[in-house]
Subunit: 208 residues, 2 copies
DNA sequence: GTCTATAGCCGGATAGAC
DNA sequence: GTCTATCCGGCTATAGAC
């Protein structure tokens, strides 16, 4: 029936997502995937025309509703600064929680052709970008919106992604990979680089 | 003779570097490599015991002397802030110039096993890390040294790496991938987050 | 040191039975 | 929809001549 067909399809995508996230496109074979799903490799081709298509569907499946989730994560309550804080916190939590999502984005940065880069940009980055951009513009019309927005997004992604390598640097503590520590750090960086438009003098946010 | 042996070896590494940087370990076959070098695949095995070893040697070859180059790039002249600025500028330039180096580092973050992560951390990241860390500590003993240092390094790498995807975001201009624009942005972020220890009030750096 | 030839395995994808 | 069987090409790595 239609139901089982759809369910198998989604089951395949669910199994494929962590595999592709961990090993990348070239690192996962259809045979690997068939073992994980529990059906033969040939059966996979009943649901997806080829490996490349399957991979693209994995990305879409992983990214879908992320944009709307971002949008929802901003309550329209509070000042623009508070909204910005809330969003960075939510975004960091999400990025930390959904490791597959984060890894897939990173793989695309290295591996993706033009079409896939565009998909990631529009399906994933666009919404958080517009959100942070608008809030920074609201708070300080004279700030360097573009660079600050990009920096915030990559800082969240970087700090969440690079813990495995940072542990080899002197002074590393496990708390540095804690989402709340990361978001607090990024928020502080941002706050110290935007001036409230309402004429309040720039105040340095205390470190502790 | 010993000379030709060494030269071929280095020739192989030179040809392999851009290939692995562009396609990653799994994306490059020994046949691809043999074509690029101009010898048979079998001959490669005379110089390297297997593909994995060859790849590791590519990384070492690409990373060697980077650490000392970092060290040299800081003149011990000027204030700590000036030294920090000089270093960020030099680091950004280097990262932009040597695209293979940058790509190899990024691949390792996703793909690397423990041993390779350690290699990247110690051969590549350690020296710039220690350098920035010490300078920030010198300028503001109370700053959040660890997070600020990591942020600076990843910001430089991120802004340099992600231009291909950022062009799909609204408001993108090619100048945003310009090394001097990137380093100026990172320096400004840093300056606004460290207080000179000498009792001078924190001053916002003008955007323009 | 480099070659040709090849072993042995794994890859994506298809054919056709059920 | 899923299976088994299979094609065929590419992969790493080795054997052995020169």
């Amino acid at each position: 029936m239609k139901d089982t067909e759809i369910n198998t399809r989604i089951h395949i995508l669910d199994e494929a997502t962590p595999l592709f996230a961990a090993q990348g496109y070239n690192g996962v074979s259809m045979r690997d995937l068939s073992k994980a799903v529990g059906i033969s490799a040939a059966a996979l081709y009943h649901h997806f025309s080829d490996k490349r298509t399957l991979y693209l569907e994995v990305m879409k499946h992983s990214f879908v509703d992320k944009a709307t989730a971002f949008a929802r994560s901003v309550t329209n309550a509070g000042t623009a600064i508070e909204q910005l804080e809330d969003f960075i916190k939510g975004f960091t939590l999400m990025v930390n929680k959904d490791q597959n999502f984060r890894a897939l984005v990173m793989w695309e940065l290295l591996d993706g052709d033009e079409a896939r880069l565009k998909l990631v940009a529009e399906e994933v980055l666009l919404e958080p970008f517009k959100m942070v951009y608008a809030l920074i513009q609201d708070i300080d019309p004279e700030a360097d919106h573009y660079m600050l927005t990009i920096s915030s997004i990559w800082l969240v992604l970087s700090h969440s992604t690079t813990a495995p390598i940072c542990q080899y640097l002197p002074g590393w503590e496990t708390s540095y990979s804690n989402p709340s520590v990361i978001s607090a750090h990024v928020i502080q960086l941002l706050k110290n680089n935007i001036n409230p438009a309402v004429g309040v003098a720039n105040e340095r946010v205390p470190k502790k």
